[in-house]
């Protein structure tokens, strides 16, 4: 997540133009081009810090669900969709993105559950204060 955020910010001009090619984002591309990576960085930090990990995992899972809905909408109503992902994700088709996202939604739910159990175990052992 940090990688894709930094690759977007590193090349703001390209990100902006990629966003502008998305049918629903054309008019707000300039704003989305910095807002999206900023949110991604915040989530990455939330997940990285043990105290905020649970909320970070919940937000990222929610965003992946939201993004999945967006992909399905775009695949249904638009042809020739551009992709603004970084690295190998850029090579994925939109169906590939959907599968990729689906897997990460499942992993997100699993991570939320595991993290909850880990926290409960620590609380019961007295190594973490419950909040």
């Amino acid at each position: 997540m940090l990688y894709t955020a930094l690759s977007k910010l590193k090349d703001y001009s390209l990100t902006r133009e990629q966003m502008a090619m998305m049918p629903l984002l054309t008019s707000v591309a300039a704003m989305i081009a910095w807002l999206l990576p900023t949110i991604e960085i915040i989530i990455a930090v939330l997940i990285f810090l043990p105290g905020t990990r649970q909320i970070g995992l919940k937000i990222v899972t929610f965003l992946m669900v939201f993004f999945c809905i967006y992909i399905v909408y775009m695949m249904t109503y638009y042809k020739d969709l551009p992709c603004s992902c970084g690295g190998f994700l850029d090579e994925l088709s939109w169906t590939g993105h959907l599968i990729f996202n689906g897997i990460f939604i499942i992993l997100g739910f699993v991570a939320v559950l595991i993290n909850r159990k880990v926290r409960e175990a620590r609380v019961s052992k007295g190594t973490l204060v419950s909040n």
Binding site: L2, E17, F48
Partner: protein, 165 residues
Amino acid sequence: MKRCLFFFLIAISSACREEIRVPYITGMENKPILKFDILLPDSTTYFNTSKLETDKQIILFYYSPACPYCRAQMRDMVSHINQLKNVQLCVVTSGDFRSMKDFNSHFDIGKYPKIITGVDTGHVIARNYRVQSVPFTALFNNKQQLIGAYVGRLSNKSMREILGI
């Protein structure tokens, strides 16, 4: 803390890539710009490159309207258009006319009457400069000789360095 630093270094190093500027061999090096027709946005008039001013450098930017890298380069050129005021800028595509109009509208190219923009209906650029991918940028000196051609996004700064302006 070490783990945190490592994590950030990996992320930053993988996201940062310098522009790679390698001249593309077209077989047209040092040759004058080709004479060909460009269908202008009014859809009826053709501009022939023989009408380009003879004492000015030329940037021939060949793009695809659906290519984000082309659009990013165009954004860069439009943002720094004042730095290119003494250069003739030809922004040409072989894409369909409607897409060219949308592209022009997106960048508000109509605001810059000195930019020659339109469709290379005869696919002259692609065939003669061996263009296989876009964006393609060909730079000509003030004698209209090709001094460099580049495939991939070329920054405004790089173009000015190559042209010596």
